[in-house]
């Protein structure tokens, strides 16, 4: 049991040690790299003076709100496109042409339309989260066992019933994968928006640390973001188990 718990730590520990050693041996001098010991110290300080906790709250709020809105839209569109071939084909050009527009290129427009703050960040996060949900939900819905869709037709399930009782449960494991992916993307986009423009949250912290030439602090922020993302993922997996039990994990555990 205790070995099982340490297994995930071995690889990162080894890498960190190697990096520390390398930094010491080469007398690392850089404005964007710092030895792990310095990073840890900076992390501890920033945690203690509450700058990281406050920034975390801001970032997570924007990321979650955007994730909720974006994935709801993506889920709805993905199911609609997955069920209805005609709709999918009609929207193909539009969707595929809008999807690759990097929100970072449109940040100035978003800024002028919405100003600094949560609103702009949430909109951009939502925009980014729609697509993975849409694409993966659509493909999940398409690969539902055709016999099950026939069962729903034979029972004359109404469209909402069909979606609630057949489509979503059958596609749930994949929808969850998409959601986990989107959660990661939400965090990334939120931080990116903060780095580029929005003066709140972890991204702003990174930006300031960078401009202050505090590589240790900047990397501390990065490590912290990784930890948050990791915890978020664990939380989602636990929630998936708890909420949906067998259904969500159908075939998801070996």
């Amino acid at each position: 049991m205790s070995l099982d718990r340490t297994k995930p730590l071995l690889l990162p520990l080894a890498l960190v040690l190697a990096f520390e050693l390398w930094a010491r041996l080469t007398h690392l001098q850089s404005d964007s790299l710092a030895p792990p010991s310095a990073i840890l110290a900076a992390l501890a300080t920033a945690l203690a003076d509450l700058s990281i906790p406050i920034a975390t709250r801001d970032t997570l709020f924007a990321a979650f709100a955007g994730l909720a809105i974006g994935s709801a839209i993506g889920l709805a569109l993905g199911i609609a496109f997955g069920i209805s071939r005609p709709l999918d084909r009609l929207m193909e050009v539009t969707v595929e042409a809008i999807r690759p527009i990097p929100s970072i290129a449109l940040l100035p427009i978003a800024l002028i339309a919405l100003g600094f703050g949560y609103r702009m960040e949430i909109v951009i996060v939502a925009f980014a989260c729609v697509w993975p949900m849409l694409i993966m939900t659509r493909s999940a819905v398409r690969s539902i066992e055709p016999r099950l869709m026939e069962v729903s037709r034979a029972l004359r399930l109404s469209a909402p019933q069909r979606i609630a009782k057949i489509v979503i449960p059958a596609a749930l494991p994949r929808i969850f994968v998409a959601f986990r992916l989107s959660a990661g993307i939400a965090l990334i986009v939120a931080v990116t928006v903060e780095i580029a423009i929005n003066p709140i949250g972890l991204g702003a912290g990174i930006m300031l640390a960078q401009q202050a030439l505090r590589a240790d602090l900047m990397l501390a922020y990065l490590v912290w973001i990784g930890a948050i993302g990791y915890a978020l993922n664990m939380l989602l997996i636990a929630a998936q188990r708890r909420l949906f039990g067998r259904a969500a994990l159908a075939g998801d555990n070996p």
Partner: protein, 268 residues
């Protein structure tokens, strides 16, 4: 067939007002003609059995009647209306039972699906599920998931779900294929008594000739490549039928022989 005879036949069919009718129905799939020019009338309350060699088109014909396929040409009608979609009063038992069950729902949940579809209030469902499970010989298995059930049990579960629909028409595709002789006979009688009592119309696909004759008012044998009717036998055996008496009836044995010869001739 002479024109006059054909005319008389057409009139007779009109008088009987078929519930389900195939009118010169042809179906092409993947570039091949699977069913060709099928003409078939099923009267309300009739128990029609379909037999035929493996791959001759039985399942396909049933799917046409269910509205899961639409004919490439010709028509398939239900109460004289072309069938475009499955109807709620028509229940379908699929041949591949394993794929037709929701793996994330227990046995009770799978039956419940049909009850939910017909908006049976939640508090009534429990008792009805119980009764249905008992009917197909699965009492006490309500909480099992399909993957925890044997092949025969899954097959019976699917039948229970179809009965939960309280259909006026039952389309059954080899529903007892995975059952042992005794369970099978029990379910045959169960289906017979249910359908006779409520005048349910049944189209029943099977590869067991005895079963077809034992159950049916009429048995149709399909010929393969493409699927069309090769033999049509009216079964004039007294009802209610009895597993021992009916199977020993001389008419039963005669029909059996006839069907057997037909099937034998279709091979090769």
């Amino acid at each position: 067939m002479s024109v006059v005879a054909r005319l008389i036949e057409v009139r007779a069919a009109r008088r009987q007002k078929p519930l389900i009718a195939f009118n010169a129905a042809t179906l092409r799939l993947g570039g091949k003609t699977i069913i060709e020019n099928l003409d078939l009338q099923v009267r309300p309350g009739e128990f029609l059995c379909i037999v035929g060699a493996s791959g001759c088109g039985k399942t396909t014909a049933l799917r046409l009647a269910a509205g899961l396929y639409r004919p490439t040409s010709g028509a398939v009608t239900f109460e004289a209306e072309p069938i475009t979609e499955p109807r709620r009063e028509v229940a379908i038992v699929f041949q591949d039972y394993g794929k037709a069950l929701l793996p994330w729902r227990t046995a009770a949940g799978n039956i419940s699906l049909a009850l939910e579809a017909s908006r049976v209030p939640a508090r009534e469902r429990g008792a009805r599920i119980e009764a249905l499970l008992r009917k197909v010989g699965l009492p006490g298995h309500a909480d099992k998931y399909p993957t925890e059930m044997s092949g025969g049990m899954q097959q019976r579960l699917q039948i229970a779900r179809c009965l939960a629909q309280e259909p006026t028409t039952l389309l059954m595709d080899e529903p007892f294929g995975a059952l042992d002789a005794m369970t099978r006979q029990g379910l045959q009688d169960e289906v017979l008594s249910l359908t006779q009592a409520s005048e349910t119309t049944v189209i029943f696909v099977t590869h067991d000739l005895d079963e077809a004759i034992y159950l049916g008012d009429r048995v149709i044998g399909l010929l393969p490549h493409p699927g069309r009717i090769g033999i049509e036998l009216d079964v004039d055996l007294p009802r209610p039928r009895d597993q021992l008496a009916t199977r020993e009836h001389p008419e039963f044995l005669r029909l059996r022989r006839q069907l057997f010869d037909f099937i034998k001739a279709t091979e090769h």
